[in-house]
């Protein structure tokens, strides 16, 4: 059953990624098809996660690979909030290829099947993983908005003649949305990390590389908020900082999880 749902989700996300590239070349039908690909793929992946939850132990995303699948779902969910609106379609250029790549990695790691009993015995860990993943999904979306900001800013600086060819959100809108998304995500990460630390102390566990990298990630995103609110950072500088923060999110999600889950 999970197999039956994984492939449609992957193919539809793939179709969306290709469709968004087509939309850049010739806006119109390809963009609409891509948006439907995201919607239907998201439904298929939602069903996949529901099947996983029903077959396993309630919260089956206890391995890095399966939590990666949940992370992809959260990213696409967050993207769907804006992605269906025409001016934001270009966000899909960043979000959907990433979603496809991460879903493939999640499958390679065995994270999209069933039969994985949960490693988590208590609700604290469920909350810990849920909050951290939701925060990371928010950061991913903020990074996509920032990438779009940098791209649009470059167009405004270098090729104003063709600037009106494509419907893209205004710079100020992209900047404000990225900030708002981070402003929601940082508290989620703070809470998620705090819950994890409580568990760490209670179990008398040791710090590992993933915890250290997550702390650095938190620091970068927290600085993003601080610099924007107090240091007057906005626009391009803030966008580059968001991209730096996103690199750390990817490192935490892909490079280090084995150390933590082991």
């Amino acid at each position: 059953m999970a197999e039956l749902l994984f492939w449609p989700a992957l193919l539809l996300y793939g179709e969306a990624a290709v469709g968004y590239f087509g939309d850049v070349r010739r806006p119109g039908g390809a963009g609409r098809a891509a948006t439907w690909g995201v919607r239907l793929g998201w439904l298929a992946q939602t069903a996949l996660l529901a099947v996983q939850a029903a077959r396993d132990d309630g919260f089956p995303w206890g391995t890095w690979a399966s939590s990666l699948s949940l992370f992809v779902w959260l990213v696409v969910s967050a993207y769907l909030i804006w992605g269906c609106r025409r001016p934001y379609r270009l966000l899909g250029l960043v979000v959907m290829p990433l979603a496809v790549a991460l879903l493939v990695i999640a499958r390679a790691g065995g994270g999209t099947g069933t039969g994985n009993a949960s490693h988590y015995s208590n609700v604290f860990l469920v909350i810990h993983v849920g909050l951290v993943l939701a925060a990371f999904a928010g950061f991913t979306l903020a990074a996509a908005l920032s990438a779009l900001y940098i791209w649009q800013e470059r167009r405004l600086k270098t090729s104003p003649a063709t600037i009106l060819r494509r419907q893209v959100p205004a710079l100020a809108t992209l900047d404000a949305l990225a900030f708002r998304t981070v402003a929601w995500s940082v508290p989620l990460l703070t809470l998620g990390v705090a819950v994890g630390l409580v568990r760490l102390v209670a179990d008398d566990d040791r710090l590992d590389a993933l915890i250290a990298a997550t702390a650095v990630t938190w620091l970068v995103w927290f600085s993003y908020l601080g610099l924007r609110l107090l240091g007057g950072w906005a626009g391009r500088r803030a966008a580059y900082l968001a991209l730096a923060g996103f690199v750390l999110v990817i490192v935490v999600r892909l490079a280090l999880p084995a150390t933590h889950f082991a």
């Binding site: 649009q152 405004l156 600086k157 104003p160 003649a161 063709t162 600037i163 009106l164 060819r165 893209v168 959100p169 205004a170 710079l171 100020a172 809108t173 924007r228 240091g231 007057g232 950072w233 906005a234 626009g235 391009r236 500088r237 803030a238």
Partner: protein, 400 residues
């Protein structure tokens, strides 16, 4: 049958010196339409800065055309060689193209739709002109809804406003600093104000440099268009203001030649500088985009013109169809009357059933001839069909 005649001239056929001689104000347009309509014609006059056109619905095409030509030539005799004359389908298609902005100097411009509506309202109209103008307005709206022909800016001032929206999104509450007060900069400021921005300061010359530099910290848009021979604002002053702005974006539009704003400003972060060449390139680019959209708009307009033609052609056969149906109904009722002695024995529901069955037989018999006559009307031999039907069923004899 009423025929449609168009006589007029436009920017394609006459230079402005000639067009201005035949351009009519609201009252004059209404008066000329009313005068030509004497004798039972329908007339509407469309007069804009790019065209003056008379639309006439009349039975006698030649006379209607001659009188319309005379009416325009009486305003300016030299205009006669520049007049075009179109009839029926071609006249309707022309009006539909005009309403869609496809015949305008700037393809897709929106003002023409209101002008067509006004011509309709001021005209002396009846069945034919009402129909053609309503359908033209519908086509115009449809073209604008289904294509992007009117979506992009067609002037330097509109391009400035579009750029501001690319940077800020909504312009509600955004403030403008106006350097100099040239015509183009005023138009650009007006265009921004119509989108919600406010003028915060109008500064006229280099003497106000201190005040200008001070306000650079607060405003969102600077529009420069002074007559100064050198730079009014240098990059160092803007860089200083940007430090005070703490990341707030600044848009600068330089409409002056020679330029008022230091080109190096464009290199600074969080600010965007455009000069007159940039804006003209945007306009040129969007106009070519409008021309691409015009191809799609042409096909929409053609479909609408075809619908009008079908309706108009059906007018040839409508009287014959109406006579035929009236004759059939008359026969049905007469036959029922004859059978009254038999029908009198039926109860009310049985009588109604008989009425319904006979009416249905008549309708079914006449359905195909009606459809075929309408089809024949579109194919241009509707009059022949109508005459044949009148002859076969003796419709003219009855009327006599």
């Amino acid at each position: 049958m009423m025929r449609l005649v168009l006589v007029g001239t436009s920017h394609h056929h006459a230079p402005v010196e000639l067009r201005e001689q035949v351009a009519l104000g609201r009252d004059e347009a209404q008066a000329i339409a009313a005068r030509l309509a004497e004798g039972g014609r329908e007339v509407a006059c469309l007069s804009t800065c790019n065209r003056t056109e008379l639309y006439v619905a009349a039975g006698d095409v030649e006379q209607a055309e001659r009188e319309a030509v005379e009416a325009l030539a009486s305003l300016e005799p030299d205009v006669e060689p520049a007049l075009y004359r179109l009839h029926d389908r071609a006249a309707a298609l022309h009006l539909f193209r005009v309403a869609a902005g496809l015949d305008s100097l700037v393809p897709g411009e929106g003002e023409i739709l209101g002008q067509v509506r006004l011509a309709h309202e001021l005209g002396t109209t009846g069945v034919l002109l009402d129909r053609v103008f309503r359908q033209a307005l519908h086509s115009g709206r449809k073209v604008r809804a289904q294509t992007a022909i009117g979506a992009s800016p067609s002037s330097v001032s509109a391009a400035a406003a579009a750029l501001a929206e690319q940077v800020f999104g909504s312009l509600d509450g955004r403030s403008i600093l106006l350097l100099g007060a040239g015509k183009v900069s005023e138009q650009a400021a007006r265009s921004l104000r119509s989108r919600g921005a406010e003028i915060s300061l109008v500064a006229n010359s280099k003497t106000e440099r201190e005040r200008i530099e001070e306000r650079l910290g607060d405003v969102d848009v600077v529009i420069a268009s002074t007559n100064a021979s050198g730079l009014v604002l240098e990059a160092a002053a803007v860089a200083d203001a940007l430090r005070r702005r703490k990341g707030r974006l600044l848009l600068l539009i330089d409409l002056a030649v020679p330029r008022d704003l230091d080109p190096a400003i464009g290199e600074l972060d969080d600010c965007y500088l455009y000069d007159i060449d940039d804006l003209e390139q945007i306009v040129s680019e969007t106009l070519s985009g409008r021309r691409r959209e015009a191809e799609r708009a042409e096909s929409i307009v053609s479909v609408e013109a075809e619908k009008f033609h079908e309706w108009h052609a059906s007018l040839d056969v409508v009287p014959a169809i109406a006579s035929l149906r009236a004759r059939a109904e008359e026969i049905r009722e007469a036959e029922l009357q004859k059978a009254e002695s038999l029908l009198g024995r039926l109860d009310e529901s049985q009588r109604r059933a008989v009425e319904a069955v006979t009416a249905q037989i008549v309708n079914k018999l006449l359905h195909l001839p009606t459809v075929r006559m309408k089809q024949a009307a579109v194919a241009a031999d509707g009059v022949l069909y109508a005459e044949t039907v009148r002859h076969l069923f003796g419709l003219d004899e009855d009327e006599r």
